[in-house]
Amino acid sequence: MLLSLLLQASAGVSTLGTANPVSIGMFFLFVAVTLYITYWAAKKTKTGSEFYAAGRSISGFQNGLALAGDYMSAASFLGIAGMVATKGYDGLIYSIGFLVGWPLIMFLIAEPLRNLGKYTFADVVAFRLRQRPIRIVSSVGSLMTIAFYLIAQMVGAGGLIKTLFGLDYEIAVLVVGCVMTLYVLFGGMIATTWVQIIKAVLLLSGATVLVLLSLSKFDFRPSYLLEAVSTNYGQEMLAPGGYISNPFDALSLGLALMLGTAGLPHILMRFYTVPDAKAARKSVFVATGFIGYFYLLTFLIGFSAMALVGKPAIEGIDKGGNMAALLLAEQTGGTAFLGFIAAVAFATILAVVAGLTLSGASSISHDLYVHVFKNGVSDEKGEIKVAKRATIALGILSILLGLVFKGQNVAFMVGLAFSIAASANFPALLMSIIWKRFTTQGAVWSIATGAALSLILIVLSPTIMVDIMGYEEAIFPLKNPAMVSMSGAFLMGILVSILKPESTAAAKFESEKLRTYLGVGAE
C-alpha cells in the first residue's frame, strides 16, 4: 500500500520505490565487502574473548566509530531528518536527548564497566553479588531491551527497504535477518565491529556530502537556508513548537533517552572490545563527537529538505517525513546519489541489528548458560557453541517478529526499549558500582521493578491506550514511563538493600576497588 501511495504521490517526481541500479549495486558491494570481512574475521574468532569482545583488540578510536555506528540507526538518520523537515526545530530537541546520555556513560559507567566486567554488563552487577539470581534478572532486562529495539528495527527495515528498492516487505526482512546472522555467527564481535565502522564512515560521509550539495544551493550560507524555511513555512519552524506541551512528559522522555543510553546492552558490550579503561574513555569521546556531528547534519538535512523538496511533497510520501533525506538526496544529487544514500540506509539497518543480536546471544550464552546452568564454570567450546546457537535462534526470531509485527505501529517500541534500559539496567549497574551496601536482593528487586513498571505503565500510557487502542484517555498520564519506573527501580534497590544487608557483598566492595579504580586484575 505504501508503494502505491508513493507512486501516486510522486509520479514523475521521484524514482523512490523503483529498482535503482546504483543502490542495488552499492548494496551488493557493501554485502560482498562485509561478508569478506566476516570470512576474514571467522579465522580469528576462536576463543570466547574473540567472539564476544574481538579479543580486546579494537583501538579507542575504532571503538568510538563503532559505538557511533551502533547508535546512528536508520531510524535516527531518516526519522530525525524527517522530524525536522516536517516539524522544524522540535526535531533538534529530540536529537539532543539522544546525545546527552553519552557524557554520562563516560563519567559514571565506562571505566568501572571496562575494569570489572568481561563480556556483558551483568558481569559488573554480579561481581560481588550472588551470581545466579543476578544473571537471571539482568539477562531478562537485557533481552527485553534488545527484543523491543530489534522489533522496531526489523519492522522499520522491512518498510524502508520496500520503499527504497521496491522489494517485498517479507523478502526485505528475510534478507536483513539472514545477512546479519551470518556476520554474527561466523565473525562474532570482530566482524560486527568492522561492519559498524564501515557503516559509520559511509553514513557520516554520505550525510556530509548531502549537506554540502544542499548548502551549495544556498551559496553555502546557512542563514539563507533558514531564510528560505522561514519565508515558506513560517518563522515558527525555527523555534520550539508543540513538541513539549506537558513538562512532565518532556522530563520523563528526557530521562529515558539520557539514561537509557547508559543501559543499552549492545552499547555497554562495546566497552569490552578495547584493551583498557583509557581506551574505553577515549572511545566515548570519539563516539560523542561523531554522534553530535551526525545530529548537526540531520538538522541541516531536515531544513534543506523542507526548503528544497517542500513539506507537502515530503508528507505526501510518508506522513512522518521519513523519506525527507532520500528525496533531498535525489533532488540535489540525482538518481545515482539517491541510490548511494539508500544503500547506506540499508547497510545501517544491517549493522544495528547485528550488534543487537550479538549482545542478545552473549546474554544467553554468557549470563544464562554459563552462570545459571553451569554454575559459572565455562568450558570455552561449549559456551561458544551455545552463543552460536543463540545467534541462529535470535536471527530466526528477529525475522519472525519482523513478519508478525508487519504493518503494526511499533514506533513506541524504541521509547519502551530506552525506558527499560533506563529503569531495569541502568540503576542496578550504577548502584553496584558506587554503593557499598547494595545487595543481591536489592539488585533483583530493582531490575524487576524497573522492567515491570516500564511494561505496565507503557500499556496504560497515552502511547498505547490512546494512540493504538483508541481510548479517549489513558490511565497513566505520561507518554514515556521512565520518570516513574526509573525512580521506582532506584527506590526499590535502596529500600531492599537497607532492610536486608548482605555482609559478604559489602566486604567484597573494598577489594573490588583495586580493580575498579586501578584496573588491577581487569580482563
Binding site: 526545530y89 533538534l92 530537541i93 539532543i96 536527548g97 546525545l99 546527552v100 553519552w102 557524557p103 554520562l104 563516560m106 563519567f107 559514571l108 571505566e111 542563514s223 533558514l226 531564510e227 524555511v229 522561514s230 518563522q235 515558527e236 525555527l238 523555534a239 520550539p240 513538541y243 513539549i244 506537558n246 513538562p247 518532556a250 522530563l251 528526557g254 539520557m258 583509557k278 574513555r281 577515549k282 566515548v284 569521546f285 560523542t288 563527537g289 553530535g292 545530529y295 548537526l296 538538522f299 558506587i434 573494598e510 577489594s511 576497588k513 583495586l514 579504580y517 586501578l518 584496573g519 588491577v520
Partner: protein, 102 residues
C-alpha cells in the same frame, strides 16, 4: 606520604588511594551534574518559556538554534574535559599507586 604500603589491604586504606577515589567521583559528579542542569534547564525553558528561545538574533535566526547546537557541542566538550583530566591527573596517580604494590 613516606609510608610504603605493601599489602593490597594497606593500599586500599592508604590516604593516597582514598584521595584518588574521592577525587574521581568529585570530578565525575560535578561533570554529570553540569550536564543534567544544562539539559533539563533547556527542556524546562522549552516547556515554560518558548518565547525567549524564539527571539531573533539574526534576520531569521532564532536564539533556539545556537542554544540547541551549543548543547550538543557542550556535551562533547564536557567529555573532552573528562578525558583531559583523566589522562593527565588520574592516570598518573593510578600509575604511582600501582608501582607501590609491585
Amino acid at each position: 606520604m613516606n609510608q610504603q604500603p605493601r599489602t593490597t589491604h594497606e593500599l586500599l586504606e592508604s590516604p593516597d588511594f582514598k584521595k584518588l577515589v574521592k577525587q574521581r567521583w568529585s570530578v565525575s559528579l560535578v561533570l554529570t551534574f553540569t550536564m543534567l542542569v544544562v539539559y533539563f534547564g533547556f527542556l524546562l525553558l522549552v516547556a515554560f518559556n518558548k518565547e525567549v528561545l524564539a527571539t531573533r538574533i539574526g534576520e531569521y535566526t532564532t536564539l533556539a538554534i545556537p542554544v540547541g547546537l551549543g548543547i550538543i557541542l557542550f556535551a562533547w566538550l564536557l567529555t573532552g574535559v573528562y578525558v583531559f583530566w583523566a589522562n593527565n591527573k588520574y592516570d598518573t596517580s593510578v600509575e604511582n599507586l600501582k608501582n607501590k604494590i609491585q
